[in-house]
Amino acid sequence: MLKLLHTADWHLGRDFPAFSEEARKKLSRARVDVLDQVFAEAERNAVDAVLCAGDLFDDPNPKRDFWEALASRLQKKRWQRPVFLLPGNHDPLLADGIWRDGTFKSALPPFVKVVDRELEHAFSERAVLYAVPCRSKASQQDPTALIPARTAGDERIRVGLVHGSAFDAGDWQTNFPIAKDAAVERGLDYLALGDTHGFRYVPADRLQPPTLYPGAPEPTAFDEQDAGHVALVFINRQRRALVDKRRVGHWRWETVRAAELGALRALAARDDLKNRVLRLVVEMNLPAPEYEEAEALLDQLAGTEAKHGRAGVLELHREGLRLDVANLGPQLEGLPRVLQAAARTLQLAAGAADTRLAAERALFHLLRTARGS
């Protein structure tokens, strides 16, 4: 029985420029933190080897913080099991890249093997690994073409480790295109891939021999399907592979559309928002008191300078949140007449398309400031 942990696409050092500074830090740090979960999974299952299938850094020259974080975590391990670090298209094997950096390499413990050439590594007499690194950021060459095909009489377990896109070859966007049936053609019992960030088999309906993307252990975008996992792979003497999908990611990226206040209340009441990167699209037209409540709920979710938000990270789209300015009577009652007169002026302005948004907000500011909140 050969036991492997297959992971890929850590993207250490990735920035998230669409978010606030604080959120960027959180999400960037999460990519490092998840490594603890990945390595713990390897230990817990006493795997024979850890295969890291490329794009481990987001850039060929990551900041020191990131490679040190990786090296220090590995240094703490007293492992014999090999850990294979494969250069991907984000962190290819360049002359001035991280994989050739002596400081980094010397910081890695002996059991870590950087795949800095086409590699054939025997796990045992019965099992062998073929690994092919990316030597550039882009290419139209299939890396599996460099893996020798199984020869007659070779009964060993053969595992492939490459990084590339196993999508339609006709698509020009394919980078390092990998033939869908490469595992079969090269006589591999398991083909460990890296590149796409969701957990998926290629092709989706063929489970044997598995050709698998484990996906990024920590998701990086809203549109990723089934990210946040590693694959635990067991290959028995009959060379049949069993794959177990293990969740390791902390963050879950979720998009919510709130079209009525009830939905917003329900969202704010959820107790699972701490580890959510939440894209919230608010589309509702509310009378003043409810508008104020909606603003308060959004404040709760987003947080303020004094208080953390309920959502771990919030990307708020609030253009659709509108104040119903037609019926402000009760809210204006008791206000000085001059404020009432100003409110009426703003109500009129809210009727014109070009001043609608500003007038609605101005009314909201008036009411909120007047009420001292």
Binding site: M1, K3, D15, F16, P17, A18, F19, R44, N45, A46, N89, H90, R135, S136, K137, A138, S139, Q140, Q141, G170, W172, Q173, T174, N175, L232, F234, N236, R237, L242, D244, E315, H317, R318, E319, L335, P336, R337, V338, L339, A341, A342, A343, T345, L346, A349, T355, L357, A358, A359, E360, R361, A362, L363, F364, H365, L366, T369, A370
Partner: protein
């Protein structure tokens, strides 16, 4: 503004008086005629009347020659002390001092300038002295009337507005005061907040700030920065996309060209093979040709040998007699030839004559034949024309027949349709019954499927339970796999044992008499049983993993095995199949129900259609028979075919057909007449030619008979040829006759033929050798072409070698070129890193969108605050520009409170003139004119108090509210105390207890202060020119 001290000397009835005023409410009391109003007038005079005014004469005491002098100390709005002293009656009698502390004074103005300065200090709408609109006497204005009213001047205030003032300073100052009033604390809070927010983002002129401190600038710069980065990336991505697209295209192109190159190479090989085969064929053909030549040479050798033998025989001595005989024969031949020439010349003449006669006869016969043929054609044309005429006649009849048939057929079809409809209705009824039966069958089948499904499901897990079991199976497999680390168990028996071993899930191994060491290898588990003595189970894996497996195995037994047993299946796969099969019954039931519903629906539909068909009407039998009779004798099937082909418009078509056929018939008849005329002309010419033919026919047999009946042309050629041959023979025979019989000639002939024989034999040998050589060459070439190429050549024609070579070279060059281009493009791709740039571009797109949204949000918020600030200012301005609105609310509120809701409202105009008093109710009218004097007085007092309050300026009320009842006066006291908190109030009254408690009155001192109210007993302060009769002014 508030008053501090008033000193009066020789002013009307007062000889001297000095009064100190307190802030707040000052109730100055004294009996009638004490001089209270004089003091009020003195204040007015000090502040408003020039010392030279003629009106000042009224101030002079009538019993003394002194000039009236008034000195008034007051504080302005900024807290500066002022003292004005006016000695009326002289141009230099006015002086103005100022002081910061009220102790040390500095002269500010003197003489005429004093009043001008006072107008500035007290901007009450009074024109400056000497200027335009300057008053001649005591000036009037709205504020003067409000703050320093003359006693009993009620109407003046209610009907006068600020527009009636001589100067607009009053309006300005009151507007300013009311603006400050409008600055309600809440309003101010909102305005201040809005202003603060606006100042963050906008300059004073309303433009957006561009400084770095503005949040809009920061947001805009973030957008610009991202935009620049994104644009650069977009270019990079575009470049990379172009290169990647090119590389991808080149990769595919290279693959295609690889195939093409292979094909071109194969074609070249084939062309080369074809060439070899062709050369082999050529060699073989050449060999055959050489063989034929050799054969000819062989025959030539034989002939030459024979002629040599003949020549040798003639040249010998035995040939002399034969040579003489030959000479006699030649001379006889010469004579015969001469006779033959004459005979042939005579025969040729006869042949020429006979030929001419035959030509004439032939011409006559040809013409006769042509005429007969024309006659035949005309006869045919006639027959055709007659036929066509007859046909046209027939077609006309047919058209009429179709009409009749059609009418009959329509009637018949209608009748038949009615019959068919009834039959169809019957069928539909049957079908309905059948479909109902079918529906019942489906319903029964559905029920059966439901029952079967339910029965099967009873022993099967639900889908959710099955998913749990599937998960359990996966978890167990994973847990078992996690145990796996590899096991090697060595068994070394000390004596022979019977061992039963199982490794993992493999087949059991029985070793009955094991003596030697035995090694068992497994991934996770080895089970060893030693006879009936011992069982050893060895399981790999960490403790936690083993526990997990145990739990899962237990669960497997409890859950999976139970489920399998219950379902009576052997494995999870079987169970899945069983669940799927049970689901099939549900699907089948649904399908049966659907079909049953469809069958019922079809049955209903069939019944409905049957009912409709049964109602279809049919025609009468007699009518149908009459129509059939009109058809005539034409075959029905023909009519039916035409009728059918015409379709629905048969009747129209028939009418058109009838017209057309009538016209055709006329044309055909004319054609018949024309043909008959031509036939007559042909018959006449034929008669003439027949005569000529008879003459020729009689003469020609005679000539032929003379010539021997042979073919004339052949005879002519033969005779001419014979004649030529005879003439030539004559020419040749004459010299031969001379030479024949010479021996030398015969010997020369022998020698000549011997040489020829040797040459022919040599040529034969050469020809045979060459043929053999080419045959060998052909065989060698054929052997050099592989069998498959020979087969391919049989299947398709090869290219020309040159063309194939050119094509292969082209294909190779193209492949190399494209390969080089692909390598170049792929190399370029590696440096451009397009996919990464694209990913980064997508990230930046999102970041840019977010930054733009932030910028938009900030801008929208900034615009909102600006709009709010502007709206607040506009509202403020609007409120204060209409002074009536600014002041009216307070006046109205107090008036309504005073009158306890008796009136609905008070409308005060933009310049503070009281316009209407509204009554309650929808049709409330205006009642200002009909108000009582007391109410008007109260209303006027309220207006005055509100003006004073808003201007924070002292007010003098001289015996106001004298017509007010006790209750209202009490209410007013409260108002006065409230107003006095902001504006000093001097109340001159003869009834102090209307405003004060008795305990508030001074006992020994002239004044008494208590809780913001100063009671001033004027009897103790005013010294009149004559004594008053009563001293206690506190009494009623």
């Amino acid at each position: 503004m508030r008053y501090l001290r008033l000193t009066v000397e020789a002013f009307q009835g007062i000889e001297a008086a000095t009064v100190d005023f307190a802030p707040g409410l000052n109730v100055l009391y004294g009996p009638n005629d004490l001089g209270k109003s004089t003091l009020a007038t003195a204040i007015r005079a000090a502040l408003l009347l020039p010392v030279t005014s003629s009106e000042a004469h009224a101030f002079e005491p009538w019993h003394a020659g002194r000039k009236p002098v008034v000195t008034l100390d007051f504080l302005d709005g900024q807290g500066l002390h002022w003292r004005v002293k006016k000695a009326f009656g002289g141009p230099s009698g006015a002086q103005l001092w100022s002081s910061n502390d009220g102790a040390s004074w500095t002269s500010a103005e003197k003489g005429r300038a004093v009043d001008g300065r006072l107008r500035e200090l007290l901007p009450w709408g009074v024109a400056s002295p000497g200027g335009k609109n300057a008053p001649r006497g005591m000036p009037e204005s709205f504020i003067v009337n409000a703050l320093l009213p003359r006693q009993g001047e009620v109407e003046a205030l209610l009907h006068r507005g600020l527009d009636d003032d001589a100067a607009d300073s009053g309006k300005v100052s009151l507007t300013k005061a009311l603006s400050a009033l409008a600055q309600d604390p809440l309003f101010k809070k909102v305005l201040d907040r809005a202003q603060a927010e606006v100042e963050k983002c906008f300059t004073e002129t309303g433009a957006r700030k561009t400084s770095r401190t503005s949040p809009l600038t920061a947001a805009g710069e973030a957008v610009k920065r991202l935009q620049v980065e994104r644009d650069a990336l977009t270019r990079q991505v575009a470049d990379a996309e172009a290169v990647a697209q090119r590389a991808s295209m080149l990769r595919e192109r290279r693959a295609e060209l690889g195939v093409e190159l292979q094909e071109a190479r194969e074609a070249l090989e084939l062309a080369r093979a074809a060439l070899v085969v062709q050369r082999a064929d050529q060699a073989r053909r050449a060999a055959a040709s050489l063989a034929a030549t050799a054969e000819e040479k062989k025959r030539a050798v034989e002939i030459t040998a024979a002629s040599l033998v003949e020549a040798q025989r003639l040249a010998s001595g035995d040939g002399q007699r034969q040579r003489e005989l030959q000479r006699a024969q030649v001379e006889a031949m010469l004579s015969a030839l001469t006779a033959k020439r004459r005979e042939l010349e005579a025969r040729l003449q006869k042949i020429e004559f006979a030929l001419k006669a035959r030509a004439d006869l032939g011409q006559a016969r040809t013409e006769a034949q042509a005429l007969r043929a024309e006659g035949v054609q005309l006869a045919q044309a006639h027959a055709r024309a007659v036929h066509e005429r007859s046909e046209a006649q027939g077609e006309l009849e047919l058209a009429e027949g179709i009409v009749a048939y059609g009418r009959w057929r329509v009637a018949l079809d209608a009748a038949q349709a009615a019959v068919d409809a009834r039959a169809q209705a019957a069928k539909l009824t049957e079908e309905a019954v059948a479909r109902e039966v079918e529906a019942q069958q489906h319903e029964r089948a559905a029920q059966a499927a439901v029952d079967e499904g339910a029965m099967r499901r009873a022993t099967l897990p639900t889908q959710a339970q099955l998913e749990v079991l599937e998960r359990l199976a996966h978890d167990r497999d994973v847990a078992e796999a996690r145990l796996g680390g590899g096991l090697a168990v060595a068994v070394r028996p000390r004596r022979a044992i019977a061992l039963h071993a199982v490794a993992d899930d493999g087949a059991p191994l029985d070793l009955p008499g094991l003596k030697a060491e035995q090694l068992f290898e497994a991934d996770r588990r080895v089970l060893l049983t030693v006879g009936d003595l011992l069982e050893v189970e060895i399981t790999a894996g960490a403790k936690e993993a083993r526990r997990t497996v145990e739990v899962l195995r237990r669960r497997w037994k409890e859950e999976m095995l139970t489920a399998l047993e219950r379902a009576e299946v052997a494995s999870l796969v079987d169970l899945q199949a069983a669940v799927k099969a049970a689901a099939v019954f549900e699907t089948a039931a649904h399908e049966h129900r659907t079909k049953a519903a469809a069958a019922r629906s079809a049955a209903e539909s069939a019944r409905a259609r049957g009912a409709l068909l049964e109602k279809q009407p049919s025609g009468s039998k007699d009518e149908l028979e009459a129509k059939e009779a009109r058809i005539g004798t034409l075959p029905r099937e023909i009519l039916a075919r035409f009728f059918t082909s015409m379709g629905a418009s048969w009747e129209t078509q028939c009418e058109e057909l009838r017209k057309a056929k009538g016209g055709t018939l006329q044309t055909r008849r004319a054609a018949v007449v024309e043909v008959e005329a031509k036939q007559q002309q042909v018959r006449w010419r034929l008669d003439e030619v027949g005569r000529l033919e008879a003459e020729g026919a009689a003469m020609l047999p005679r000539l032929l008979e003379q010539l021997g009946g042979t073919d004339l042309a052949v005879a002519r050629v033969q005779s001419s040829s014979e004649l030529t041959a005879v003439v030539e023979a004559l020419g040749a025979t004459q010299p031969e006759a001379v030479a024949t019989g010479s021996r030398d000639v015969a010997e020369a002939t022998v020698k000549e033929r011997e040489v020829a024989l040797v040459r022919a034999q040599a040529e034969l040998a050469d020809a045979l050798k060459a043929a053999a050589a080419r045959e060998g060459e052909a065989k060698a070439l054929e052997a050099s072409v592989p069998t498959e190429q020979r087969r391919a050549l049989q299947l398709r024609p090869p290219l020309e070698l040159a063309a194939a070579e050119a094509a292969a070279a082209r294909a190779e060059a193209l492949f190399d070129e494209v390969s080089a281009e692909f390598n170049k493009a792929d190399g370029a791709l590696t440096s451009l890193a397009g996919p990464m740039a694209k990913e980064r571009q997508q990230q930046l797109d999102e970041a840019l969108a977010a930054a733009r949204e932030r910028e938009h949000e900030l801008n929208a918020d900034a615009d909102a605050w600006k709009l709010l600030r502007d709206a607040l200012r506009e509202a403020e301005s609007s409120q204060t520009a209409h002074l009536g609105k600014a002041l009216g609310g307070e006046v109205a509120t107090r008036f309504l409170a005073l009158t306890r809701g008796r009136y609905a409202g008070v409308a005060i105009g933009p310049t503070l003139e009281v316009e209407t008093i509204e009554l309650p109710g929808a049709d409330g009218g205006e009642v200002l004119a009909s108000l009582s004097h007391g109410t008007k007085d109260q209303l006027a007092t309220l207006v005055r108090l509100c003006v004073a309050s808003s201007m924070r300026s002292a007010i003098v009320l001289d015996d106001q509210l004298v017509h007010t009842d006790g209750a209202r006066l009490h209410w007013f006291t409260g108002v006065l105390r409230e107003v006095a908190r902001h504006a000093q109030t001097l109340v001159f009254t003869c009834r102090p207890l209307d405003y004060l408690e008795a305990t508030d009155l001074p006992v020994k001192a002239p004044s008494h202060d208590a809780a913001g109210v100063r009671a001033i007993d004027l009897t103790r302060l005013i010294h009149r020119h004559y004594a008053l009769t009563g001293t206690n002014s506190a009494g009623p």
